[in-house]
Amino acid sequence: MTAPSPILVRRAILVGLIALWEILPRLQVVPELFLPALSKVLVVLASDWQVFGGALLVTLYEVGLAIVIACGLGITVGALVGGVASLRSLLLPVFSSLYAIPIVILYPLFTAWLGIGPQSKIVFAGLYGFFPVMLSTAAGVRVIDPQFLLAARSMGATLTQQVTRVIIPASLPTVFAGLRLGGALAIIGVVVAEMLTASAGIGYLVTLNRTILDSPRVYAAILAILLLSILYDVASRALERRVVVWQSTGRQSAPAARPVSTATPQATAA
C-alpha cells in the first residue's frame, strides 16, 4: 500500500483539528474557559457580527495605511540602497545592525507621542514592515542581470526606456514579494499593537475579552484575525501569480515570510 498523497494528509489534519476543536470541549476533555467549542465561537461571531465587523474595519484601515508606509518607503529605500553601489556599502551594514532591535519596544514611545488611537498603530506597523521589505527589495534589485541593460542599450533604448522597459519589469517580482511581506507584517504589527494598548480594533477585542474571561469572544476575535491574514496571503499570492506569469521558479511560490536569509525575518515574531 502506498502512503496517501501529502495534500490529502494535509486536508485530513485540517479537518481533524477543526473536529477536535468542536469535540474536545464538548466532551469536557479541555475546560470551556480554555477552549470553547467551535460552534459556540461561530455563534458568537454571527450574533455579534456588528461588533467584530466594526473592529475589523478599524484594523483594516490601520493595516492599509501601514502597508503604504512599509511598502512605499521600504521598496523605495530598498531600490536605492540595492541599486546604488555607494549607498549600499555605506548603509546596508547599518540597516542590518538596526534590524536586530526588537521594534516592539518602540511601541510605548509611539503611544506616548501619538496617543492610543490609530496613528500609533499605523506608524508602528509601518516601521515593523519597513525593514524586511527594504532589505528584501535591496537584495532583489541587486540581482537584476546587467546583461538585460546591455541588451536594451544595444537595441537603442534611451535612459528612460531602460528604466521603464527593463528595470521596472525586472524588479516586479521583488516588488511583489515586498508587497506580500510588507502586508503580512503590517497585519502582524497592527494586531500586536492593538493587543498591547488600544481602544478599538480586532486585536483590542482579543485583549478586552481576555480580561473579562469571555473565552468564546476571545476565540471569535482570534478566528477573525486568522481569516484576515490567510485571506491576505491567498489574495496577494493570486495577484502576484497573475502579474508575474513569466517567472519560472522562485519567489512567487515562496512564503510571504521566509526567515532564512537576512532579507526577510521578523515576519513571524509576535
Partner: protein, 250 residues
C-alpha cells in the same frame, strides 16, 4: 569608496543624530516632554542601572530569554531537520509552515496566560513557541544547503557516515547554523518583549510598557537604549563569527 571613509561617514551620521537629539529639545525646537535631551536620558540611564527593581527586571528578562532559547532551538532544529530529511513529512508540513508564518502569533498570547497564568511560564512558553517556527524554517534551509554531490564525492572516497557528518555537514552548515541562531535570537527577544509588555509583573518589557503609559519618557528612552544595545551587540558578535566560518561561501 574606502572603508575608512565609510566608517567616518557613518560616525558622522551617528554624531549628527545624537547631536540633534541633544540640541533640538534644549532650544525648544521639539517638546522636551516628548523628546528629552540625550544628556538627561543618559543621566536617567545611569540612575536606573543602580535601582534594585530594574536590576531584578534585567535578571528576569535575561533568564526568560535564555530559557526560551534553550527550549526552542533543539525543538525547532529537530523538527526542521526531520522535515528536510524526510521528503514525505516535508511535503505535508512545509506548506503549512509557510502559512503559519503570515499569522500574527501574538493572538495566541491569551492561551499561554490561560495555561500558565501570568508569570515566567507564560512568557517563556510564548517566546519559545514563536521562536520554534523560525528555527524550524532555518534548520530546514540549513540542511538543504548541503549539496548532495559533496556527500556523493565524500562517499566515493570511502567516508564513513560519522566522517560525512563531521567533515561535510558540519562545515557546510556552520555559517547557516550561526545565521539561524542569530535570527532566532532576534525573534526570541521580540517574543519575550511582547509577552512582558502584554501581561507581566516584572521584566524590562513590563517596565518600558509602564514608563510609556506614565509618560516617563527619559526612563522609556533609557530602556529602549539598553535593549537595543544588547540586541545589536549580540547580533554583531554572531555576524562576525558567521563571516569567519563562512568565508568560503559567496
Amino acid at each position: 569608496m574606502q572603508r575608512g571613509l565609510q566608517t567616518l561617514i557613518r560616525l558622522a551620521l551617528l554624531a549628527l543624530v545624537l547631536g540633534l537629539w541633544e540640541v533640538l529639545p534644549r532650544i525648544g525646537a521639539v517638546n522636551p516632554m516628548l523628546l528629552p535631551p540625550l544628556s538627561d536620558v543618559a543621566t536617567t540611564l545611569w540612575g536606573l542601572l543602580g535601582r534594585a527593581n530594574v536590576r531584578e527586571a534585567i535578571a528576569v528578562t535575561t533568564l526568560e530569554v535564555i530559557t526560551a532559547f534553550a527550549i526552542a532551538v533543539p525543538l525547532g532544529a529537530a523538527a526542521g531537520i526531520l522535515l528536510a530529511e524526510n521528503e514525505y513529512l516535508g511535503a505535508i508540513f512545509k506548506p503549512m509552515l509557510f502559512y503559519v508564518f503570515s499569522i500574527p502569533k501574538s493572538i495566541f498570547l491569551p492561551l499561554f496566560i490561560l495555561a500558565f497564568g501570568i508569570g515566567f511560564g507564560q512568557k517563556v512558553g510564548y517566546a519559545a513557541f514563536t521562536t520554534t517556527f523560525v528555527v524550524m524554517m532555518s534548520a530546514t534551509a540549513a540542511v538543504e544547503s548541503v549539496r548532495g554531490d559533496y556527500i556523493l564525492v565524500a562517499r566515493s572516497f570511502g567516508a564513513t557516515p560519522a566522517q560525512i557528518i563531521w567533515r561535510i555537514y558540519v562545515p557546510c552548515m556552520m555559517p547557516v547554523l550561526l545565521e539561524t541562531l542569530r535570527i532566532s535570537m532576534i525573534f526570541n527577544f521580540t517574543g519575550v518583549m511582547i509577552a512582558e509588555m502584554y501581561a507581566s509583573r516584572t521584566g524590562i518589557g513590563h517596565l518600558i510598557s509602564n514608563w510609556g503609559e506614565n509618560f516617563q519618557l527619559p526612563q522609556l528612552f533609557a530602556g529602549i537604549i539598553i535593549l537595543s544595545a544588547v540586541a545589536i551587540a549580540f547580533n554583531e558578535t554572531v555576524r562576525r563569527l558567521e563571516a569567519r566560518v563562512g568565508a568560503w561561501r559567496q
